[in-house]
Amino acid sequence: MSKQEFLEQLRKSLSGFPKGEVEERLSFYEEMIDDRIEEGLSEEEAIAAVGPVNTIVLQAVEETPLKTLVKERVMPKRRLAVWEIILLVLGSPIWLSLIIAGAAVLFSLYAVLWSLVITFWAVFVSFVAGAFGGIAAGIFLCARGDVTQGLLFVSAGLVLCGLSIYTFYLCKAATKGLVGCSAKLAIGVKNLFRRKGEA
């Protein structure tokens, strides 16, 4: 791959970023490649040292706030005509409510996932409470002379104790998993607003 090809590929992958930033990044990488070539590396080696396009783009996406990407994606490149503005305003009862509804659906899906995790934790807490309650009630009954019933309560408490240990790990895994998913989701949403492969 030649330097020009590399820069062209990078430009394509960075479309969706503000124009000024794309130019700035491109000139930065071009300078890096030129400096390496000047030092005696071949064009091919210099490009390889700067790193694959994908890695550069991924890092750029992670560092750029979502707001910037959305703005770049949604703002039209030219000024709107009068009739377009009128249509946008007149149509707002329809498109605005559709967008709000869409966002609400997505948000509720996400909320459902979190409520699932909360449910797991609630089960865990009730197991712990049951374990303590059962053991305490069992000891109380034993002290009153009701040994058979008391032992039954204690053993039920111990079983809940064991179950709560298992559920604790389940809860922890579920929470960790969802937190990880949220981070990936954030990158996914950002990627959504990037125009991929559009020159």
Binding site: F28, E31, D35, Q59
Partner: protein, 106 residues
């Protein structure tokens, strides 16, 4: 190393690399190489961050028929380096304590 800590340290490294004379991207990476591995993308972000914090200024100069960006440290940048040296004295005190504990255990 902790990502947050590393990020802060790399900022300082870049400031230190330009503290005596103005430098350019590739030279900064080369100068830091024996001490810290720094990728192009990371350097780009750090330079942007330092520029936004007015710790350095950028000028473009011609070199060998092409343009090259030179980075110049500002007073704010110098002050940050000075702060870092002060902060690090405390960190080193803690480090000596921790290292001593380990030696005693051996």
């Amino acid at each position: 190393m902790d990502a947050q800590l590393k990020r802060g340290l790399l900022d300082i490294c870049v400031l230190a690399a330009i503290k005596d004379e103005d430098s350019y991207g590739y030279k900064i990476i080369k100068d830091l190489k024996p001490y810290a591995e720094l990728s192009e993308s990371t350097l780009y972000t750090i330079l942007k961050r330092l520029e936004a914090a007015s710790m350095l200024t950028v000028r473009t100069a011609e070199h060998d028929g092409r343009l090259r960006k030179y980075y110049h440290i500002t007073d704010v940048g110098h002050r940050r380096l000075e702060e870092f040296r002060e902060e690090w004295k405390e960190v080193m005190k803690i480090y000596r304590f921790v290292a001593k504990e380990e030696n005693d255990n051996e």
